[in-house]
Amino acid sequence: MQGYLSVVVYLGFIIAFALVSLGMAWVLSPKRPFASKLNTYECGAEPIGGAWVQFPVGFYLVALVFIVFDALAVFLFPWVLVLRTLGVRGLVTMFLFLAILGLGWVYAYRERILEWH
């Protein structure tokens, strides 16, 4: 349990820094809210058309592919740090993991979801 004290203190500093800086900004800044100020900004003109529009599915697919490879990055960083202790077994399992994600990439490439027609 001893090792976790430094983590808790570090966590406290992070939260304190966030709260203090935002709090100071909120307390010290003059506030003058009125309708035209809180209106959405659309290059200075009156906003036209609603934003709740049925978007094409292409955007959603790109987001999916991003999440897949983002999760991959989350695993890679700690893996690299402890690679020496894991030895060859760790190496092989990670490459197996990479192969599975590679399959996902090949599928996305074959479906041509990243090319915008």
Partner: protein, 387 residues
Amino acid sequence: MLDQNTTTRVEMDWSGPERLQMNMGPQHPSAHGVFRAIVTLEGETVVAVDAVIGYLHRCHEKLSETLTYAQYPSIASKTDYVAAMTSEFAYVMAAEEIGKFEVPKRAQYLRVIVAELQRIASHLLWLGTWCMDMGGALGGGATIFLYCIRERELILDLFEALVGARLLYGFFQVGGTRYDIPDGWAQKCRETIAVIESRVDEYEQMLEDNAFFLARARGVGVVSRELAQDVGIAGPLLRGSGIDYDLRRNAPYSSYQDFDFTVPTEKDGDCYARYKVRMQEFRQAVAIIRQALDKLPAGPISSRPALKSVAQIRIPKGEAYARVEGPRGEVGSYIISDGSAKPYRMKWRGASFSNLAILPHIIPGHKVADVVAIMGSVDPVFGEVDR
């Protein structure tokens, strides 16, 4: 792909994903001034563009009916404020054409030198803002912008030494020019254009093998020959679409026939072609300035006495349309005079007004990011569009 020349207000009913209507409004980093395009989007593809202009309509044509021939040239430079010299050039030439004033040879040469310097300065600003539009202020685009503005400062120093003003000059006057070049200016001008010429090679080498630039510029915003003439676009846009037409050679004015220069044209009419034409025009302008400086004759700079009073210049009744090859195309001034000291009617043919009219014809079908690239390659200046 969508049919290229849909009219501006196409309202196709579309069972696909809904349309998003959006303002690329007056205050937009790549709006090149105050231009508002109401863009109807389908995902990333633009379906229709409705251009709203007039945010910089400063009543030039109405004001020109209340200002005399001596007062208006310095206001005329505010129409195309990036190439102020060529705007005054057109107005003054129209007035001279009606009054049949003879312009001395030295003044004609000075006008050519100054107009070509202005073309280089205007193309530098075009290259800078276009690359910034495509690369983004914090992305890679700002490098070219900073380089181009640095070169443009060299030319503005020349103008400041000649006229005293950096951007808007009162250099032209009916009958000639108001200032003569100070001594040492010619030598300084030669050094500046030598620097400019080496820098243009540097820009080309920087841009031509940049894969992003080629992907963004090639095949984007294609203007066919027929559509180009039909809408009346001019200058680098026309020559980019393969039409070999340049006022300085086809209808030479102010002794342009004394210089030999080639008119660069490209065939495929897309943003890359227009870019190539303008880069060639840098070099042609440098060549013209060198020849003009070498053959600069001595003599008076104006055939009329110096300006003492505002209403001194009286033009007989008549009308004339004078045209000048500005950096953006044909800038023309159509004056109808009624014999008094003020024109009866003055119509300003702004090159950017017709160039901008091509946008609703070529933008539908492109992505939103390409709209910015096409706008930059058309290079509109809104003092000239809204007049």
